[in-house]
Structure formats: structure tokens, C-alpha cells
């Protein structure tokens, strides 16, 4: 038993400490986080735009049809259908080897692929949030003389945001873990570094377990922060 434990410790030593290999994990984690944060911002902006267009289209008064809105709505629908209907892995390979076939910056390609993917999911989440706010709320806002954007900004979005926070947290966690797929096009993120260290030592167990724990730790920290934010937002509730 003790011998076995010593063997395991030796394996982990070789995978993390020897030759300052932990630096590789840190640089990989840095790239993973960079991709996550930039793709998240990119995806959120994209998602909100798509969601607002889709909601504005769906909530038009009956009998009124804005042609421009219909075209935009069709485009948004096409976008979400394609992105949600194809696997993330295939999308990343297409971004890396077909669309950006001459780009050497794999992290950038990864960010674009992840951001556009995340945007489609965020769009549906945000749309759900906007639809969940009673129409009476925006009608009241408009009756009080606020224009469409102000009604959205001061009345609908604050309520919607609270509703969608758990789903958005979910999307962030998915996005964070999906960065590991970018290693197929050769971006040196955490999984890539772990696999290469495994390959050099001919022992994949310690780097894989180690990288899994790193992912887990980050997700736990994020979930905790999200819980804090939710509690803070709930302070104004009388529930």
C-alpha cells in the first residue's frame, strides 16, 4: 500500500514538479482562461443582439410586420440552428482548417469558434429571460412615456437578468470546459499541455487527473462567485 502510494507520488512528481513542468500547466491555464473570458464577452454581446432581435420580432403587435425585422429574425434563426445543430468539435475543426485555413493564431481561431458557439446558446437563454418578463411590464413602461430602448434597459433587462443568471452560469461553465476542444487544432491550452506532458513521460494518468482537478477548482470558484452575485441581487426581493 505504502509502496503503491510512493509510486503514485513519484508519477505526480514527474508530471508536475520535475523540469518545472507546472509552468506549462500554468501557461496552458492562462490560455484557457483567456479564451474563456474573451469568448464569453464575444458570445454574450452576440447573444444579446440576437435575443433582442428575436424577441422584438416575436412580440410585435398582431397585424404589424416590420420587413427588416423579419429578415434579421430569419438570419438569427439560421445562425442558432446551424450552431446548435452541429457538434462543437466539428465547428472548431472547420474554423481551424477550413475558414481560417491560413491563420497561425490558433488561440484567436479558438476564441472566434467558442464565442460564436456560445453566442447561439446565450441568445436562447437571454431570449427566454426577455420573454419571461410579463408583457404588462413593458406596456406599463411605454405608457409612462419611456421609449423602447429605455423600457428594455430600465425595466425588462434588469428583471430578465436575474431570471437567467443560473442558466448563464451554466453556459459559462460549459464554455470554460469546451476550451479543451481547441487542443485539436493545436492551441496550447491546458488539455494540450497536459497531453504533451503525458506523451513525453509516457504516462497520461497524472497530467489528466491534475488538469481535471484544475478545471474543477476553477468551476467551484466560479460557482461560488455566482452564488454570491445571486444572493446580492436577491436583496431587493421581498420574497
Amino acid at each position: 500500500m505504502l509502496e503503491g502510494l510512493m509510486g503514485i507520488a513519484g508519477k505526480f512528481y514527474k508530471a508536475f514538479i520535475e523540469g518545472e513542468r507546472w509552468k506549462l500547466y500554468l501557461s496552458g491555464l492562462g490560455i484557457t482562461l483567456e479564451m474563456t473570458v474573451v469568448a464569453l464577452i464575444f458570445g454574450m454581446v452576440l447573444g444579446v443582439v440576437v435575443a433582442v432581435i428575436r424577441t422584438a420580432h416575436d412580440q410585435q403587435r398582431p397585424g404589424r410586420r416590420n420587413i427588416l425585422l423579419s429578415i434579421l429574425n430569419a438570419l438569427c434563426k439560421l445562425y442558432t440552428t446551424i450552431i446548435r445543430g452541429t457538434p462543437m468539435m466539428v465547428q472548431i475543426l472547420i474554423w481551424g482548417f477550413v475558414i481560417f485555413a491560413s491563420s497561425r493564431d490558433k488561440v484567436m481561431v479558438g476564441i472566434i469558434g467558442l464565442g460564436i458557439n456560445s453566442g447561439a446558446y446565450a441568445a436562447e437563454i437571454v431570449r427566454g429571460g426577455l420573454m419571461s418578463v410579463d408583457v404588462g411590464q413593458s406596456e406599463a413602461g411605454r405608457s409612462l412615456g419611456l421609449n423602447y430602448l429605455d423600457t428594455m434597459r430600465f425595466i425588462v433587462i434588469p428583471q430578465a437578468f436575474k431570471n437567467i443568471l443560473p442558466s448563464l452560469g451554466n453556459e459559462f461553465i460549459t464554455l470554460f470546459k469546451d476550451t479543451s476542444l481547441v487542443n485539436t487544432i493545436g492551441a496550447a491550452e491546458l488539455t494540450y499541455q497536459a497531453m504533451r506532458i503525458g506523451g513525453r513521460n509516457y504516462d497520461y494518468m497524472p497530467p489528466l487527473i491534475g488538469s481535471a482537478l484544475i478545471y474543477l477548482a476553477i468551476v467551484i470558484i466560479f460557482t461560488w462567485l455566482q452564488g454570491k452575485l445571486e444572493r446580492r441581487l436577491r436583496q431587493s426581493d421581498r420574497r
Binding site: F97, S102, S103, R196, G199, I220
Partner: protein, 292 residues
């Protein structure tokens, strides 16, 4: 108080995960377990003749699955191993393995997976052996047993015809070199400059050689370091590529086994040596690589 509970739970969960890994680690070193083949790799039977249902001549070795010889490989490495149009496998390694399996009275099963997974599968006893143009080196000998050599592998460099890289020395100026993930070519290239490599920042590992060649065609990388035989195929299939005249490295290919699985290794070795002696191995190699 609640917070404390939460933290305690997390710590406990983590300890449990670690304990599980520890258990996994100790069994890992034991010779082949009688487990189903790696679930992520679809086990497809080689489209070859049925092996006779006789007991193996040596008798004392065991295989992962009784009566079957599981070979893990990465079937994207022509002409050593590739898939056929009907979903089967062919290539030098596959045919040699087939001949060995027939000699041992076993049925060959080819498990196709990524190259690094193929190595691990043999080490952990998910497969009986790995044949994927595996080069024997000191580090691999520490964690695996190997058969005798059955083929010589030459690592070469593929570049675009009009590339500024025209000799092996020019590789030092390459902004990015592509390799198949975790092959010896990758490992040599990714060593720091002072240890004779080009530094990990200048090397990208792809899941297979074809992806690296595609990246080269796209202009995403400047050169590909890969074994000569597949390199010939890749250059034939893609216009505008060429192989540098000087070789990058010379290596020996062998069959890999789990460390300590000497019974199976000896049996396979004996069969392999018979096949080398009667010319079968050479005939198979000549079939796929016509003498230049």
C-alpha cells in the same frame, strides 16, 4: 456553519477522487486485465481470414479476450496502418499482426484510436499490443516491453516546394513545425534548443499526420516532421509538397506490450522471427512500399 460543511464536503469529495485514482494507479502496472477493450475505441474486427479454433501453441500466455489478439493502433498512418473503404483495416502493421495472430492461433482484432491512446492501451492492458509504427527508445523501454524490430522507420521533413526551408539546418528558422501528437518526431522537435530540439513554442502537435499535412498545405505551419513511409503517401496525395533530401532521424519499429507481459511478448516474438526468417514480413513491406 453551513459554509464549513460545504468546504468539508468538497474536501471529502476531492479525497475520494484522489483515493480512486490511487487505486487505479496500482492496478495499472499489473499485466493484462480481463476487461473489455477501451470503450472509446470501437473494436472492429479485421476483415481477414478466420483463424483456426485451436489452442495457442505456447499456451502459457493470456490475452485480453480469450482467443483474440487485440492490437491497438492509429489507423491514419499509411502505409503502416490505414482504414479501407469498407471500414476495415489494412497496412504493413495490420498484415504482420494478422500473420502473427494466425501463427498463434488467435483472431486479430484491431482497435483504432489516437496514437498516444494506442500506446497507453497496451500499457494498461486494454489491448494486448500496440503496433503503430512505434519507435523503441529509452524512455518507452521504462514503461513498456518491446518485441524485436520488424521494420526501420526514417523520420523525414515535408515542406512546400517553394519553402525557404531546404535543409534540416533550416528547420531552426521555421516559425512553426507540425508533428503527430506524442510521436518521437514531436518529442525530438519539442526539446529545448540547448537539448537539440526547436522548443515547444515552435512545434504544434496534431492528432494525426494527415492533419499536420493539411495545416502545412494551408500555410499554418512551415514544415512537418513525420515518418518516411506515410510522408511519401502524403506528398503523393498533395501537390506542391516535397520531402527534404536529408533524413531527420533513423529509428527501429517494434511491437509494444505492457511492461512485464513477457509470456505474450516471447510468443509474439517467436512468431515474428519465424515470419521474418521465411520472408513473409519482407513480402508484406514490399507490397506496400515498392522498392525505389
Amino acid at each position: 456553519m453551513k459554509k464549513l460543511n460545504k468546504i468539508l464536503c468538497t474536501v471529502l469529495a476531492l479525497t475520494m477522487v484522489l483515493a480512486l485514482c490511487a487505486c487505479g494507479g496500482t492496478t495499472e502496472t499489473q499485466a493484462p486485465q480481463t476487461e473489455a477493450p477501451a470503450s472509446e475505441a470501437p473494436a472492429t474486427e479485421a476483415p481477414a481470414t478466420e483463424a483456426p479454433e485451436t489452442e495457442a501453441p505456447a499456451g502459457e500466455f493470456t490475452t485480453v479476450e480469450e482467443g483474440k489478439l487485440h492490437m491497438s493502433t492509429n489507423a491514419q498512418f499509411p502505409p503502416y496502418e490505414m482504414t479501407t473503404d469498407d471500414g476495415g483495416f489494412e497496412g504493413i502493421d495490420v498484415e504482420i499482426a494478422q500473420a502473427i495472430a494466425e501463427k498463434l492461433g488467435l483472431e486479430l482484432v484491431v482497435d483504432d484510436m489516437a496514437f498516444n491512446a494506442a500506446l497507453t492501451a497496451a500499457q494498461t492492458g486494454q489491448s494486448d499490443m500496440v503496433m503503430a509504427g512505434v519507435t523503441v527508445n529509452e524512455e518507452r523501454l521504462e514503461v513498456m516491453d518491446f518485441s524485436d524490430t520488424y521494420a526501420t522507420g526514417v523520420q523525414v521533413v515535408i515542406v512546400k516546394e517553394d519553402s525557404p526551408i531546404q535543409t534540416i539546418d533550416d528547420l531552426a528558422n521555421a516559425e512553426m513545425i507540425g508533428c503527430q501528437a506524442d510521436t518521437t518526431g514531436y518529442i525530438y522537435c519539442s526539446y529545448p534548443v540547448e537539448e537539440g530540439g526547436y522548443g515547444a513554442d515552435h512545434v504544434t502537435a496534431y492528432d494525426n499526420g494527415a492533419m499536420a499535412v493539411m495545416a502545412l498545405m494551408n500555410g499554418q505551419i512551415d514544415a512537418v516532421v513525420i515518418d518516411n513511409a506515410p510522408a511519401q503517401e502524403f506528398v503523393k496525395a498533395n501537390e506542391g509538397l516535397k520531402i527534404l533530401d536529408t533524413e531527420f532521424a533513423n529509428e527501429d519499429y517494434a511491437i509494444g506490450f505492457a511492461k512485464g507481459n513477457t509470456a505474450l511478448r516471447d510468443a509474439v516474438n517467436a512468431a515474428l522471427n519465424e515470419l521474418i526468417a521465411d520472408g513473409t514480413v519482407q513480402a508484406i513491406i514490399d507490397k506496400y512500399i515498392p522498392a525505389a
